[in-house]
């Protein structure tokens, strides 16, 4: 671990409700779902209808424009509902599991005998291809392309994020198999970004990957930040990325021939009674995961359930389902309350990076933050603030303004290829103008995809 890449820019937001390092058993969920909105660059078309019987690994959806990409069922059972929103947009395909999980079978051979094409077609037919995210743009990878490298972030630095070395402590063989599979997809290397302290953990001992060590506050664990510092993406480059727990699931598939979507997730946040880890099957209903583990609220108060972390996760309802890529569920208080003269009050319980508050005096205090905007949306006024929370050689405000102005050439020059929403999440958090930066970034990416392809 000779050279550690030290990042100074960024911020660790310390919140209440870190998960205890114990995995508690959960009964099987009463239903599971896949949500097309989780898949970026994927236009869903149905392959099943209500009441169809499916196995774990049976395709449920395919992409209209790249029909070889499918999303499969995480469990066996019956398609119970296809929930649609406005304009009949598909929101959820709900599967109610049956007694014993039946798995689709695949024509599997030992990994070392598989070619790039074999690996690709197995990943496509099993639905695990959706784990592969392409940079630029953060969309599901295109099977026809040859990426210059595959990047995996070995740790999650987001607030209350699960400890990946704990999550994967028994998955060493699956991780190695997953990395072996990935290395067949690229002519370049498989890179893994680790926290400098993670050398002793399971992630520090995987085989077949190039190690890079990082030290510093969030977003040091964002794979985009790691790519920027190891081998930055320039125009024309394609890099693929995969979440480290998904690498283990991929490896499990190649070792067992089964689509087994079991994953360990952290249930976190100040409104969780007992924050801890659970082993679940991806797509499980929220109620099956946190039911009975949320603090009762006083009348007029509510909680926000987030699939993912507080910075980048998706808001879900109690009768909803966890996201396809989530390793974490977070429950925090809703902030739909007025506050008298709050903008000038000392507000000792609030967190801010500004010294007009006092939270900088207590760097180790953990906070119970709610979902209040803490102000109203305004045009950009302050400068020099956002740069401190994006550890890349990029001017975030200029990039955002280029996106707002729909200036493709400027977006390209100012770094749209290197960022996705999560990379600007901290800028959005600190912004006193309360701009929705992650939404702006996605709008820019969508426009790039539309105009350039």
């Amino acid at each position: 671990m000779s050279n550690v890449i030290r990042l100074k820019k960024g911020l660790d937001i310390k919140l209440e409700g870190t998960a205890q390092k114990q995995v508690s058993p959960l009964p099987r969920a009463e239903s599971y779902a896949v949500k097309p909105d989780d898949f970026k660059g994927f236009t869903p078309k149905l392959l099943v209808k209500q009441d169809d019987a499916v196995k774990a690994g049976t395709p449920l959806l395919f992409d209209k424009y790249r029909p070889e990409i499918v999303v499969t069922s995480p469990v066996s059972g019956k398609v119970a509902a296809i929930n649609r929103g406005e304009k009949r947009r598909i929101l959820e395909v709900v599967v109610v599991p049956d007694g014993e999980t039946e798995y689709e079978s695949y024509d599997m051979a030992p990994l070392k005998n598989l070619s790039k094409n074999d690996v690709t077609s197995l990943m496509l037919s099993s639905g695990l291809w959706c784990f592969l995210i392409q940079r630029p743009y953060g969309i599901i990878a295109d099977p026809g392309q040859n990426p210059k490298a595959v990047f995996i972030s070995g740790f999650d630095s987001a607030p209350l994020a699960p400890d990946m070395n704990f999550v994967l402590r028994n998955e060493a063989d699956n991780l190695n198999a997953g990395i072996e599979a990935l290395s067949k997809l690229t002519t370049g290397k498989v890179h893994i970004g680790l926290h400098a302290d993670d050398e002793a953990g399971v992630t520090g001992k995987v085989r077949g990957a190039q190690f890079h060590y990082f030290k510093g506050p969030h977003p040091a664990g964002n794979v985009g930040v790691q790519i920027h510092h190891v081998d930055p993406i320039v125009k024309g480059d394609v890099v693929w990325t995969m979440d480290i727990q998904n690498v283990a699931i991929l490896g499990r598939f190649f070792r067992t021939g089964k689509v087994d979507m079991s994953r360990t997730i952290a249930v976190t946040g100040s409104e969780v009674i007992a924050p801890r880890y659970h082993s679940v099957i991806g797509g499980a209903s929220i109620r099956s995961i946190i039911g009975g583990n949320v603090r009762p609220q006083m009348e007029g108060y509510a909680v926000r359930i987030i699939s993912g972390n507080v910075l980048t996760g998706t808001k879900v309802e109690e009768n909803g389902y966890m996201g396809f890529y989530s390793n974490q569920i977070t429950v925090i208080p809703e902030g739909n309350k007025y506050e008298f003269l709050g903008w000038i009050a000392p507000r000792f319980s609030k967190f801010s990076v500004s010294r007009s508050y006092f939270s900088w005096l207590t760097p180790n205090k953990t906070y119970n933050l709610d979902t209040n905007m803490n102000g109203s949306e305004r045009p950009f006024v302050v400068t020099g603030l956002y740069d401190r929370y994006l550890p890349m050689d990029i001017y975030p405000m200029y990039l955002l303004k280029a996106i707002l102005a729909e200036d493709l050439e400027k977006m390209e020059n100012l770094g749209i290829y290197e960022v996705i929403e999560e990379d600007l999440a901290l800028c959005e958090f600190v912004d006193p103008s309360k701009t929705e930066m992650q939404a702006i970034v996605r709008r820019g990416i969508d426009q790039m995809l539309k105009e350039l392809n």
Partner: protein, 403 residues
Amino acid sequence: MKALRNYLDKIKPNFERGGKFEKLHSTFEAFETFLFVPNTVTRQGAHIRDAMDMKRTMSIVVIALLPALLFGMFNVGLQHFRAIGDIAPTTSYDFGLIWHCFWFGFLKVLPIIVVSYVVGLGIEFLFAQLRGHEVNEGFLVTGLLIPLVMPVDIPLWMVAVATAFAVVFGKEVFGGTGMNIFNPALLARAFVFFAYTPYISGEKVWVAGLTKGEGIIDSFSGATPLADAANALANGATTIDWSNSSTPIDWFLGTIPGAIGETSTLAILIGAAILLYTGVASWRIMLSVVIGGLGIGLVYNAIGANVLMTMPAWYHLLVGGFAFGTVYMATDPVTGAQTNTGKCIYGLLIGAMAVTIRVLNPGYPEGMMLAILLMNALAPLIDHYVVEANVRRRNKRLKLTVK
């Protein structure tokens, strides 16, 4: 607070679309969000948000302006009573005397502040309503900056016209707070300077009552130190004759004639400390303005071709609007440079330009205002080159990997 909240909730429907007072929607919203931080929650993206917002940012600047404002009120009284001979320069201060001066100044300055806020906020509320926007907090600062850069004897209608000009043509035509090119408060002062020059220059306007000239003792002069220097320059003198025998200590403390809020370097330094501690203003800009002014001043000292060139360079930091401009005007994030490198260049040029105008141009003694306005116009250009350098650096990586 509960009762107030309930009352607001009760009358709120009147101000919504279709309500009785629909046309006052923005005004109601401005007052409501002033009293209560709204109950808006995050919808997408980051679910939690930092506690800092625009209201607090602007309030910090207003708080940072208070030392200069309070001292300015005191000084208005002090200069007035010195002019009529009630207070000799040697009189020692006690609480009664300070209060006496302050109260006089308070009554003189308050109407100017009221006019500035009423006119400016009135226009802001109107534009917000027409555009269907929320009222921006930016004018809370501008509305206080304008009185502080005005001479105390300025007619109130002139303050009103200048404020209206600054808000409409300095800000709203560009799209409101955050979009403007020039600092609105400086624009107000520039407007008065070019439209009504006699009311903001010369030796009479800086002290309350001096324009009328009743009961003024002979030995008192209302000239600012900068005017003294400019006079010496215009007359080709070799030394500067400082009015009322003022010294750098007086300039630092601010017991000299001048615009209401700009005289006391000490009070402005307290404001600077607040702005720098909270991080609301950029230390890069402040520091580089000082370095720019001091640096070019030393260069002129070395040349020594006229009487202002021989004046010690550090005098420039204490006299006129240099300190005020450095701390409150140049640091305006909207009209200043926005990149860190750009801020340093921007600041250096402001300082250098301000001192240069002072030293070379006897016609207009105060260079700070013009220097900042000029650099406001050039700031986007500076940023453009800084950002282009970033683009080039990033594109160079492209060439390296292609090879």
